[in-house]
């Protein structure tokens, strides 16, 4: 077994990822089936007339991709990645197993990098599974609604473009995952990692909305915040000029108000580098005493 295999074994034999997976699937069902299909079905006469049309574009394939990725980016970050990452880092402190690994000759850098890679791999697998379940819900609901299952809609994405959409949403998850990772490493606490990352995500969305209303330098601050860059990526995922239901507490991303997606991706990369640097800087120099057990 490799060290990465060991890292995956540690996490996949815990109950936490499976519980989070079930919550994520339930959330997907709520968005696609409840707020999408059921809402549309109950108001379909009005919807056909142009009312309640958001519900339709939330569950119907292929427009549902936008809703899945928008909600998935936010709640996937907040409720899955932040919790799992913080927990897998901080429990190693609490159990004392971090010390156990280091005294076996695993360098601190390699230890932390392996933990990060293992957690990232597990989050990716589970979130892709949640996304697949969401697509399945959408396909089933679309078929039940007697609508055609096709990508050939106005402005609809090709298969490679769907891949790019997934990558954009995934890249929007990474900085929040790393924020949780950094906070858990620095604070040696699951609670700090989870509360810090989730708190930041919610507060940031509100702060951006407020700052945009102010003038002067305040108005420029959102341009460097993570949330603005993520909104740019999510806005780039939109197609067909339709509206869908999103529960992410942020303004509906409109590409015209936001930075170029490639620039946004670079700014996110800079944030990621900063968060990683802080985590590694602290961990490589920290005393790991017996009270950390």
């Amino acid at each position: 077994m490799t060290v990465l295999g060991a890292e995956i074994l540690k996490t996949t034999k815990r109950w936490m990822p499976y519980v989070l997976f079930l919550f994520a699937v339930a959330g997907t069902a709520v968005i696609i089936l409840l707020f999408g299909y059921t809402a549309w079905f109950n108001e379909r006469d009005e919807a056909e007339a142009g009312f309640g049309i958001e519900s339709f574009f939330t569950f119907a394939w292929p427009w549902s991709l936008q809703a899945l990725l928008d909600n998935g980016q936010f709640y996937g970050s907040a409720l899955f990645v932040a919790i799992l990452t913080s927990s897998s880092v901080a429990t190693e402190y609490n159990w004392g197993t971090a010390r156990g690994a280091l005294i076996r000759g695993q360098s601190r850098g390699k230890y932390l990098a392996t933990k990060l890679a293992g957690t990232a791999l597990i989050c990716t697998m589970f979130l892709l599974a949640v996304f697949a379940v969401g697509v399945l819900f959408s396909v089933i609901a679309t078929a039940i609604a007697h609508k055609s299952l096709t990508l050939d809609v106005p402005g609809g994405p090709s298969v490679p473009e769907i891949g790019l959409m997934i990558l954009r949403a995934a890249w929007g998850i990474v900085p929040y995952g790393l924020l949780a990772f950094m906070l858990a490493v620095v604070g040696r606490s699951t609670a700090l990692g989870v509360a810090g990352a989730i708190g930041y995500m919610f507060v940031e969305g509100i702060a951006i909305a407020i700052l945009r209303e102010l003038s002067g330098i305040w108005n420029d601050i959102p341009d460097i915040l993570i949330g603005t860059q993520v909104s740019s990526l999510i806005a780039a995922n939109r197609f067909g000029g339709v509206e869908y239901i999103s529960f992410a507490p942020r303004e509906r991303p409109e590409a015209t108000d936001l930075p170029d997606p490639w620039m946004a991706a670079l700014v996110i990369a800079a944030w990621c580098a900063l968060l990683l640097a802080v985590a590694f800087f602290v961990f490589l120099r920290r005393d790991l005493q017996s009270r950390d057990v």
Partner: protein, 305 residues
């Protein structure tokens, strides 16, 4: 003593936490192939020293050498040759003993799957290897820790209070195993507060108090340092006068019994001095001091060896 360079050496190793000096210039040399005891009362700095040796904390000053190399420069490589049990044994509670050892093996690298089973057998956990560690007793966890420490067949074992949580039978098995490891040429550095255990297990010891080594050397030599001779004589008063001229302090115990804090090989000189005063011996026998007595004496007084 072995002529090969020390497996573990610390020079002026110090650790300060704010105003508190946890370790004050620790100088140690652990020769290859020896079982070395590291003794001290609670708070003496034993765990701090072990954490420094294993690179878990950074020294305020001083250095650690493992296998002749500066440990800070070659830490990961050096630690691949070390097996350790830390105070407060830690495993993944949701995994079985076997899975925990698989993880240890992955980190150590190059450990065959058969070796995992072998170490489980060695510590008597084969029958419980599939059980989750959260259900293990303290003693079982300690056995698993020993298995993890031995898994990669290390050259040096660093053990911090390894018999904590073991029952008397387990402690005896552990002691036998350590002796066996010592005989097989492994170097063992073991901290303990169980002095009887250390006396039986170790070839050499260092005694620390308040972060400093206050005595060190071969167990036999240290015990001999506390040697005394017990005497029964024909004339106590004359004997006390005769012994007063000798360099060792003598005390009257009771009746015709005296005790003199002198090494065994001074018996001839003592008997001659008594005979010159026409004092004759009913009895002269060495009284050996246990390591525990030496330890208690050293750690309750300011004595430097």
């Amino acid at each position: 003593m072995s002529s090969s360079p020390p497996v573990l050496k610390t020079s002026g190793l110090s650790k300060r936490y704010g105003k508190r000096l946890a370790l004050a210039g620790l100088d140690l040399e652990v020769p290859s192939g020896r079982v070395f005891g590291f003794l001290g009362p609670n708070g003496a700095g034993k765990t701090t020293a072990i954490s420094l040796i294993l690179g878990l904390i950074s020294p305020t000053s001083g250095r650690v050498e493992l296998f002749g190399e500066d440990a800070r420069r070659q830490l990961a490589a050096s630690l691949k040759r070390v097996g350790a049990i830390l105070e407060g044994v830690a495993f993944y509670p949701h995994l079985s003993a076997r899975d925990n050892l698989r993880i240890c093996a992955a980190i150590s690298g190059g450990v065959a799957a058969a070796r995992i089973e072998e170490t489980l057998r060695l510590v008597g956990l084969s029958g419980r290897a599939r059980d989750k560690v959260r259900g293990y007793s303290m003693g079982m966890r300690q056995r698993l820790a020993l298995a993890a420490a031995l898994l990669h067949d290390p050259e040096l074992l660093v053990l911090d209070e390894p018999t904590n949580g073991l029952d008397p039978a387990g402690m005896r098995e552990f002691r036998d195993l350590i002796r066996e490891l010592g005989r097989s040429g492994k170097t063992v550095f073991v901290s303990s507060h169980l002095l009887g255990e250390v006396e039986q297990m170790c070839d050499e010891v260092a005694i620390v108090k308040e972060g400093r080594v206050i005595a060190s050397g071969a167990v036999a030599d240290l015990v001999r340092q506390g040697d005394a001779l017990d005497l029964r004589v024909t004339d106590v008063a004359a004997a006390m006068e005769a012994l007063a001229a000798l360099p060792w302090p003598a005390v009257l115990v009771d009746g015709d019994r005296l005790s003199i804090e002198a090494p065994r090989d001074s018996a001839a000189e003592i008997s001659r001095a008594l005979a010159e005063r026409q004092v004759y011996l009913y009895e002269l026998r060495p009284r050996e001091t246990s390591l525990e007595e030496i330890f208690l004496e050293l750690t309750s007084e300011e004595v430097v060896s």
